[in-house]
């Protein structure tokens, strides 16, 4: 269970990017976060695995408080959080297998990593997952020889290799064509069920959010103003999420909650 309470992120002295945000995700649900650019979606995701250090508030993953962690404790916490990136962020010059195994770097020694002596169990698991997403035959190919969709599959397998307790996906389909994009969304949705894994996806494409996720969180200027099942996302709600008046939010007046029925 991921429990975010009163999360604030402020860069410098400016207006906070995240304003006392609270969010709880339980079970194997697929949750999408929508909102216009600059709403703080990406910052929210990056606060969870501490790529961005929150200013205040609490983030708890299955009982472990993540804020304030450093060094070894932080690395151990991060191992439990898989992340899929918009730009895939694969190491281009390494093979698919090495990229996939890089999800295990937090578990194996640097020496084993250097000599590419991966544990047998990890190799078997890698083949299993690659087979599942359809890239096993590429194991020895270099990552930069693959197409966009294939690269994102490698990215997903890398994250799953961590045996994560939650999967974060930051605009996972924004660099892909529509067809591949839907395949990746379907894959994330299926994997969530198969691996009993909660998945939190930042996404621009509202149609995909409706089709492939169980719950939609709408963000605007650092606040959650919508949180419900896709069926509740009316045109009016969409209007409110995407066409809000910035000044009103900036002034601190809380937007009226639209629908705040936490879906489970």
């Amino acid at each position: 269970m991921l429990k975010i309470t009163d999360l604030v992120k402020r860069y410098g002295t400016g207006d906070p990017v995240l304003k006392n945000l609270s969010l709880t995700i339980e079970g194997e649900t697929v949750v999408s976060v929508i909102g216009s650019s600059g709403a703080g979606k990406s910052t929210l995701l990056r606060c969870i695995n501490k790529l961005v250090e929150p200013s205040s508030g609490s983030i708890e993953l299955n009982g472990t408080e993540l804020t304030g962690l450093r060094g070894r404790a932080l690395r151990e916490a991060r191992r439990k959080i898989g992340m899929v990136f918009q730009g895939f962020n694969l190491v281009d010059r390494l093979t698919v297998m090495e990229n996939v195994q890089s999800g295990r770097l937090g578990y194996i020694s640097t020496w084993a990593a250097l000599t590419r002596r991966y544990p047998r169990e990890d190799i078997r698991r890698a083949y299993e997952l690659m087979e599942r997403v359809g890239i096993a035959h590429y194991a020895d190919k270099r990552a930069d020889e693959l197409s966009g969709g294939e690269r994102q599959r490698v990215g997903v397998v890398r994250a799953l290799m961590q045996r994560p307790e939650i999967l974060l996906a930051d605009e996972p389909t924004a660099s892909l064509d529509p067809k591949t994009s839907e395949q990746i969304m379907q894959l994330l949705r299926d994997l969530a069920g198969e691996l009993k894994l909660p998945v939190l996806i930042n996404i621009h494409n509202v149609a995909e959010a409706r089709t492939y996720t169980d719950r939609i969180v709408g963000m605007r200027y650092g606040r959650i103003i919508f949180d419900s099942v896709p069926g509740d996302l009316t045109d009016e709600a969409m209007e409110e999420i995407y066409a809000g008046i910035p000044s009103r939010d900036r002034a601190g007046g809380a937007a009226a909650p639209l629908a705040m029925k936490a879906a489970t």
Binding site: R116, R124, E128
Partner: protein, 276 residues
């Protein structure tokens, strides 16, 4: 083999491989051979080089001692040092100027598309190769023997070394020009000289300036050491300070050289922005 049911719903599970190697045995062999070769080269160098190993371990202490003797730098001769530093700048600048002028016809000869015939092509190339392969210091050694010690030998040495550098890069630029303007001009019946002036020169001008500035920057560095073989410039003062164990004055000279080189780099960066 019992596969943990981590993935219910996955298709019929065959045994997944538990081994993976980054390289095929053949590739691995090739890599080991490469490493072995490198290790042998280093091993051979270390074991056979004429070095007294006690001195190696002693080297850091010796270097520290040397720097210790340099502090604080002694600036009593600063006026003389700066005057000679200016002379050093002159050597570099005048030599670069002459070298650039001389390298124009050489580049023209050494470029395949402008050279009049095969003989001139090879002459041009021989000039470039011999100029480039022989170090400035070696050239200086020769010119000191001819002209006697002084900055004339220094200018000649730097110039000869620069001709190869400038000429080679310029020749390559000439070979890479867009041939269409040349053909267009030839089609109008323009003379050979006019073709060069109006179709080739404008195209290689940017490279010309870039190379000239770059070489000036390099020559500034080179001219600081000419004095060590008697060919003028700040090196003479450095040498005499070192020979007479005036380490504090040597430190001043070194700081002046550092300043000069940095200044040269700033000026050439500025020129490059202005001109290109």
């Amino acid at each position: 083999m019992s596969d943990q049911s981590t993935m219910p719903g996955a298709p019929l599970r065959e045994a997944f491989p538990e081994e993976w190697h980054r390289f095929t045995p053949r590739q691995r062999m090739a890599r080991y051979l490469g490493l072995l070769f490198a290790a042998l080269a280093v091993g051979w160098s270390i074991t056979s080089i004429d070095v007294i190993w006690e001195w190696v371990w002693d080297a850091p202490a010796q270097m520290g001692d040397l720097f210790g003797r340099m502090v604080p730098p002694d600036a009593t001769n600063l006026a003389t040092i700066l005057k000679v530093l200016w002379e050093t700048v002159n050597i570099a600048t005048i030599a670069t100027l002459f070298a650039v002028l001389v390298s124009l016809p050489v580049a023209w000869m050494a470029a395949q598309n402008t050279t009049p015939n095969r003989a001139t092509l090879w002459l041009g190339r021989i000039i470039l190769v011999s100029s480039r392969s022989i170090n400035t210091i070696i050239w200086a050694l020769l010119f000191v023997a001819i002209f006697g010690p002084g900055i004339v030998a220094g200018i000649a040495a730097i110039m000869l070394r620069s001709v190869g550098f400038v000429g080679k890069l310029l020749g390559e630029a000439i070979e890479e020009i867009d041939t269409r303007p040349v053909e267009a001009l030839e089609a109008t019946g323009a003379s050979r000289a006019k073709v060069i002036l109006y179709a080739i020169v404008p195209q290689v001008m940017p490279t010309f300036w870039a190379v000239a500035i770059l070489r000036w920057d390099i020559n500034l560095r080179e001219s600081t050491v000419l004095g060590l073989v008697g060919a003028g410039g700040i090196g003479i003062i450095l040498q005499s300070a070192i020979d007479t164990f005036k380490w504090q004055e040597a430190a001043t000279v070194l700081l002046c050289i550092l300043g000069l080189v940095l200044l040269g780099e700033i000026i050439s960066a500025w020129l490059r922005r202005r001109i290109l």
